[in-house]
């Protein structure tokens, strides 16, 4: 029903030509709608892309009004669908009161967009960028809802540095609401968790500094996010062994009659090659999966020269994960040996991309980027043997994306984009509909977008 409503709205807006912003009694209303199509030749990328999918849309409407010279208030409703995510549920994207006391000091209170990298605050706005999919190395789709906005307060401003340019700062403090069916759940399901009961995020601290340098068009930024996440989750595990190794291990189901060592890591074809012998020991574990001291740093550079925009962003994510017994809050024990089922695990990811785009004329723009994400910066080739499962992550340890995009601006309100991704790696990638997975694959995207 929701999809029919959005399709109807989209067609209506198409037929209306170029709608404009509306104003009623001092309240200004803006909106955007976009509808896309995704298709992959192998694997599934956050949706049933192997068969091609139109479950890829965004819609947003915002209301804003100035209350006084320095005081304003606004809110935006947002809905999106991208395969398993969003499902066109209506959410409040942001809603805050803004008091801009001076250019160098302002305050916001409410639900505020998170300045994560240069483009997180504006990632929902397809109309304002070249690319359909932002580089997944920094702006992963599965993290989108989690890092979109927080409920809290911020201070911000621009500090003039005389001959050295300007320093823009934002500091935020608050809490994040994460739904049980969000990307966090998706990430855990790719590791083998079977149920996600609740996701709880403790206090979140966000810092952002952007230096607008004296060199015209060059800005350099650093942003940081500190948080802790508790996931109330369950795992259905079976004890047994593959006949090629005869080493007993815990496995989790990944398909009808198909099992994988927990946490899922190795290239799935191995699961099919060797028969698994079930030792008739099965447990359903309810646990607390704690991601503590999650520390995200992003270093960003953007240079604009006339119609050319070049950007580079580098991110590290440091985290410690531990699985606790919900009742005792101790490490979960192996039901057979009494040893810790999963030892605490420290991890540091590493991701980066470089992009360039050029606008040739009023209606045509070309862009390209090269994006790289590593699950573990110390295991770029996926060869590190997991102490529990006894297998390496293989191609699940990285995702390298070569992307090329063409953007056509039909008029000031409408834009059409076509995009091709050549992928190497399987970091958070799902098998195709037959359970197969291919390390080298392609993703095609098209999107029509309207803003008013």
């Amino acid at each position: 029903m929701k999809k029919i409503t959005i399709f109807t709205l989209f067609v209506s807006l198409m037929l209306s030509g170029s709608p404009q912003a509306y104003e009623f009694g001092g309240v200004t209303i803006h909106g955007f709608v976009s509808q896309g199509y995704l298709k992959s030749d192998d694997n599934n990328y956050v949706a049933d892309t192997e068969d091609g999918t139109t479950e890829f849309n965004e819609i947003g409407v915002n209301f804003s009004a100035p209350m006084a010279e320095k005081l304003s208030v606004g809110m935006q409703f947002f809905s999106r669908d991208m395969g398993d995510f969003g499902n066109n549920d209506l959410i409040v994207d942001w809603a805050f009161i803004d008091y801009s006391w001076e250019k160098w000091l302002g305050f916001r209170i409410g639900k505020i967009k998170v300045p994560y990298g240069f483009y997180n605050e504006t990632r929902d706005i397809d109309a304002s960028r070249t690319f359909i999919l932002l580089p997944t190395s920094i702006y992963a789709e599965m993290s989108r809802e989690s890092y979109s906005s927080l409920n809290g307060a911020s201070i911000y401003g621009d500090i003039p540095l005389s001959m050295l340019g300007t320093l823009n700062y934002q500091f935020q403090f608050g809490r994040i609401d994460i739904d049980n069916d969000s990307g966090i759940a998706y990430r855990l399901s790719t590791a083998g968790f079977s149920t996600i009961n609740e996701v709880d995020v403790d206090d979140v601290y966000v810092s952002s500094l952007i230096w607008e340098t004296p060199l015209e068009g060059l800005r350099v930024g650093w942003s940081n996010m500190l948080l802790e996440i508790d996931v109330d989750a369950g795992i259905n595990m079976v004890y047994g062994y593959y006949i090629n190794t005869a080493t007993p291990m815990w496995v989790v189901p990944i398909g009808p009659g198909v099992w994988a060592p927990f946490p899922i890591g190795v290239d799935p074809p191995d699961y099919y090659i060797h028969t698994f012998v079930d030792m008739d020991v099965e447990v359903d574990l309810e646990m607390l999966y704690r991601v503590s001291d999650l520390d995200v740093d992003i270093f960003s550079v953007e240079y604009i020269y006339d119609d050319l925009i070049i950007a580079f962003e580098y991110m590290t994510e440091k985290l410690e994960t531990v699985i606790l017994d919900k009742d005792t809050m101790d490490l979960y024990e192996n039901p057979l040996t009494g040893e810790p089922l999963l030892p605490s695990n420290e991890l540091e990811t590493k991701s980066y991309y470089i992009s360039a785009s050029y606008r040739f004329c009023d209606w045509f723009e070309l862009g390209a980027y090269y994006s790289v994400a590593y699950y573990n910066k110390d295991d770029k080739d996926g060869e590190l043997i997991d102490p529990l499962s006894g297998v390496a992550k293989g191609a699940r340890a990285w995702l390298k994306d070569d992307c090329v995009t063409a953007r056509f601006d039909i008029n000031e309100n409408w834009a059409l984009k076509l995009e091709h991704h050549s992928m190497d790696g399987l970091f958070y990638i799902q098998p195709d509909n037959d359970g197969n997975i291919d390390k080298n694959w392609h993703l095609y995207a098209a999107k029509l977008t309207l803003r008013f």
């Binding site: 100035p66 320095k70 119609d307 004329c361």
Partner: protein, 150 residues
């Protein structure tokens, strides 16, 4: 490997385009003529710095020195619009538009009102307290105050 070569080649083409064909998508100074900045007669200044003007058009400067709200307006697609943006805001037309799309949809600001003709813009600036805009130097100022930009 072949795909990576395509991306690298595209990067080089994009970068090379800027230096081989400068100004293909933007108006050159010679072809667009000069623009003048105009204000409502009640605005408490006769001159502005380039930095102050840029802050106004990027939404960072919100009030005049007397505390009154700044109401900044723009022309729709035109040579004067492109010329003004390039000279004082240091953005192309599409970059300026995308900047304000981002500001509006992240709740950080209200996009400027757009005018399809310079005459209508002059009338609006003349009649609206705290208003500022720009027109071609050859257009009649119609009672709006011209301010120098230094």
């Amino acid at each position: 490997m072949k795909d990576r070569l395509v991306v690298i080649l595209l990067f080089l083409v994009l970068a090379g385009t800027v230096f081989l064909f400068p100004g293909t998508a933007t108006e050159t100074a010679a072809s667009s003529g000069d623009v003048v900045v105009i204000c409502n007669p009640g605005v408490p200044t006769d001159s502005l710095s380039k930095a102050f003007l840029r802050d106004i058009y990027t939404g960072k400067q919100k009030v005049w020195s007397d505390g009154k709200k700044i109401v900044f307006v723009v022309l729709k697609r035109s040579k004067a619009h492109k010329r003004f943006l390039k000279q004082y805001v240091r953005k192309t037309e599409s970059q300026f538009q995308n900047y304000w799309v981002n500001m509006v949809f992240s709740g950080k600001g209200q996009a400027p009102q757009k005018f399809s003709s310079e005459e209508k813009l002059v009338q609006y600036v003349k009649n609206t307290e705290g208003a500022i805009g720009y027109i071609s130097s050859s257009t009649n100022r119609g009672g709006a105050k011209v301010v120098a930009v230094q």
